[in-house]
């Protein structure tokens, strides 16, 4: 099982990661999605959650939103909010949780926003444990 494909994570101001991966799990808009080599071409969005990159070792990235394209064994993740989990400070997560909790309590949100926020909260809390 050493079948690998190219993964690239790009933010507007720089390319964050460019590597081979054997499996990538992305928090797609409609649920977590594992991608292996020779996956069918795909375009989707991300909701807040964790990207897991498996390549012998596993590394995790926290994202809030993004767009994903997979074609010809090239996985491209475009996002402006990505942080490697091991490099996040604890204060950042707590700040984000507080902010999200405040937001979710206000009643001016659409269902879609609420949906996204609840995912953000859940994944942030999961990280914090």
């Amino acid at each position: 099982m050493s079948e690998k494909f190219q993964l690239e994570i790009i933010s507007p101001d720089r390319s964050i990661l460019k590597t081979d991966a054997s499996e990538v799990v992305i928090p797609s808009y409609e649920g977590e999605m594992g991608i292996l080599k020779d996956h069918t071409p795909l375009i989707t969005f991300l909701r807040p959650g964790l990207i897991k990159v498996k390549n012998g070792t596993e590394s995790k990235y926290f994202v809030e939103e993004g767009t994903v394209e997979f074609a010809k064994n090239n996985l491209i993740i475009l996002t402006s909010t990505v942080k490697e989990l091991s490099k996040i400070e604890k204060g950042f997560i707590e700040g984000q949780i507080n902010e999200a909790e405040k937001k979710i309590k206000s009643n001016e949100l659409t269902d879609k926003e609420k949906y996204l926020l609840s995912y953000k909260l859940n994944s942030l809390k999961a990280i914090n444990q």
């Binding site: 690239e8 790009i10 933010s11 507007p12 101001d13 720089r14 390319s15 797609s28 808009y29 409609e30 999605m33 069918t40 071409p41 795909l42 375009i43 989707t44 969005f45 767009t67 394209e69 074609a71 010809k72 491209i76 475009l78 402006s80």
Partner: protein, 291 residues
Amino acid sequence: MPSLDDLKKRIKSVKSTQKITKAMKMVAAAKLRKAQENAEKGRPFSQKMQNIILNLTKSISDPANAPKLLVGNGKDKVYLCVILTADRGLCGGFNSNICKLAKVNFKKIINEGKNLKIITVGSKGLDQIKREYGKYIVKKFSFKDKKIISFNEAEIIGREIISLFNQNEFDKCILFFNNFKNVITQIPQAQQIIPVESQSSEIKDETLTYEFEPDEDEILEDLLPKNISTQVFKAFLENAASEQGSRMTAMDNATRNAGDLVDKLTINYNRSRQASITKELIEIISGAESL
């Protein structure tokens, strides 16, 4: 013939100008490296984004119902031109080149009997355009006090463009900026962002059938506004690098010209110094002879 003192003063003033231009060149060179890096790092994002959208466009089943941001609203009466320039001068033809290209386009649009609306970003472009086309300017932005232009600023402009579009204020939107090719060459560019123009060179021959999640329309609706901000941001990055590159070359030339001028003035100065010494000697000798 200027007096010796005048020449001396001029040499001194040219030399101090040279010092200024040299310092500006150094600063621009240092900033250029960073700006260039940023521009190059930012390119993949906007390119990939454009690619995804092109791929999506190809697989849209019903063009009539496609989002308006993508295919336009079918009219081409009102043009919105977004001119991106610098906030500072002394950078050679940088600002003028963008404005020149923009003005050519303005003329064409007006001659075709279409309406024109202008958004200027950066104060230098505003100065050059407001004299002739001032009445068309609908909005002006300036990020003079910002040191680094981030994605947020691009989003402000992107949002403005989208809200104007949703209010049916314009039908087509064109961005004007300088594309950074290398330090000496920057190419002023006009890029149409609404509706999205498919660049023929980028279209690949083979079409892949994509799986969409959720469906195409929803993805497009989310992606298109993002794409506009991304394209604006790309234009910002390219512009920033171009500005520094342009300034560096301009200041390099200025420094060299100042050097040439100093040489010429020094020769003049020495010549007139010698002439005056010779004149004085002749006066003394002929005075002595007549005694």
